[in-house]
Symmetry: C2
Subunit: 305 residues, 2 copies
């Protein structure tokens, strides 16, 4: 599957964790003739060049997309609209434009109005990442065995196949999905869990009878995993919640309902209800391991050497 | 610190993850003359012998504790009272009795009434574990660089020092704490996060518009870590919540309050509030890494090979 040039020139707008991982993989495997990058900050552009995430950088996004047959927007979801407005007039005829945002319907609403006729718009979301961000965070194997979800809205079959081939060559499995369904599914598997982790870490910090040092020292299983999630990029996540409001609030509503039921079981000492519930959730974990999305290794102890 | 026999004979009551890790470490480093084990199930006893967690096993707990100078109760918190009632009359004069329960005040209430005069009762809680359970789950380095919290209530200084030396020899750092404060601290760092993870995994399973297969396939960052937490032993956790009711419910009350504030910020599109909040929680994560309780490696991508 790997090997062979798929695009002549790929332009990456935004040079953080995801763009960096794309650039490193594309260059490692020769998947494009050239990778051009743009980031607003001069420091980021210079780091990106040093790390070899792209062959050259440009000072403006408009300049970066000129002559590119694939443009990937790798900026936070809230920054998509102004970037699309800037690059729209400069896109090459027949170019494919995609993105890597964690929310899809609002990206479509933000970007589509700025695109000229004759370009292929294929929104995308690689379901991969770490809690690190910025131009130093990427690595070429980030997408291996992960899913990339495409939500094509105005693209030829050829253009969609070509972008699918690129993601497969970068190690991903590719699925197609309607944008609103994407936002609901990711609301469950990613957005709501992140908000919940952020909340729990905030509560721990606020609870004055427990010192920060105690929280930090005794944070083995449980809390430690929450802090890892809650360390993700604040601006990216602010934009995710603001742009997937409906699905996130619906899921949090269900979550609160369920949490109240479990709280009630604790209060009334309903041990059978608790044990049944915990046994059911354990089975879901087994499904994830069987689906190859995680290993069975006991990672709670991963701090040990 | 390691090396040198600290006890003549250690009796482990219950042979799961924690007891197994104690047994393997004690035998690896010669920290006791003999390790005797008891579990209710014949199959568990036989597995424990096969893995070398202990030198011999007994059919009853009463038999196991005879002549032991250290007895460690490694059963779920809800099983402490009947076990203490059974072994109380058989404890050797001057013996130390400890446990590894995740809750301390209710273990003290359950165990203390059954202890004869002249034994040293030092409840303990190694803050270490994985999502696996049973006699196959233990490994000798589980406690390395982890904290063990002791909440001595009726023990001589000599007896407490000796047990402290054992935990240090098994790789732990040791702190002393009042039982009720322990239960509040662990409520924040462990018990509430576990309940929240269980809840979110349950919600995902219930949401009929998203299929199980979708949840499983697209469970990269976020949800995957919740399922790992939610895969922990159901009986152990049922007992934790039933026995740390007050602290858990207090923390969950604070959590719900805070979650509502964040939900409101999403609903009213208060991006500044969200970004501030997420920036603050990120700083807490840094503190944990600096405290040596986790590494900076990007473990969200740990499924990759």
């Amino acid at each position: 599957m790997a090997g062979g040039m798929i695009y002549e020139r790929i332009a990456l707008i935004g040079l953080g964790l995801i763009a960096g991982s794309i650039g490193l993989r594309v260059k490692r495997d020769g998947l494009a003739g050239e990778v051009v990058g743009h980031a607003r900050s001069r420091e980021t552009r210079s780091k990106a060049l040093d790390r070899g995430l792209c062959d050259r950088v440009t000072e403006t996004a408009a300049e970066a997309v000129k002559g590119a047959d694939l443009v990937i927007l790798c900026v936070p979801v809230g920054a998509m609209a102004p970037v699309a407005a800037e690059i729209g007039p400069h896109l090459a005829p027949g170019a494919t434009i995609s993105d890597v945002g964690s929310v899809k319907q609002s990206v479509i609403d933000a970007v589509a109005p700025h695109l000229p006729d004759g370009v292929h718009f294929i929104p995308g979301h690689p379901v991969a990442g770490t809690e690190h961000s910025g131009p130093d965070a990427g690595f070429p194997t980030l997408f291996d065995n992960r899913w990339c979800l495409l939500t094509p809205v105005g693209a030829s079959e050829d253009a969609t196949d070509r972008l699918t081939r690129l993601w497969q060559a970068m190690g991903s499995n590719v699925d197609h999905m309607a944008p609103d369904h994407h936002d609901l599914v990711l609301g469950v598997t990613s957005h709501a869990p992140h908000l919940i982790a952020y909340t729990m870490v905030g509560v721990a910090d606020d609870l004055r009878r427990v010192t920060d040092s105690e929280v930090i020292k005794y944070s083995a299983a449980g809390f430690r995993d929450f802090t890892r999630i809650a360390a993700s990029d604040p601006v990216m996540w602010r934009d995710v919640f603001l742009n997937n409001k409906e699905a996130t609030l619906e899921i949090l509503g269900r979550f609160t309902e369920e949490l109240f039921a479990l709280q009630r079981a604790i209060r009334t000492a309903d041990g059978a209800m608790l044990e049944d519930y915990f046994t059911r959730t354990r089975a879901i974990r087994r499904g994830i391991i069987e689906a190859g999305q995680d290993t069975d290794a006991p990672d709670f102890g991963r701090g040990r050497t």
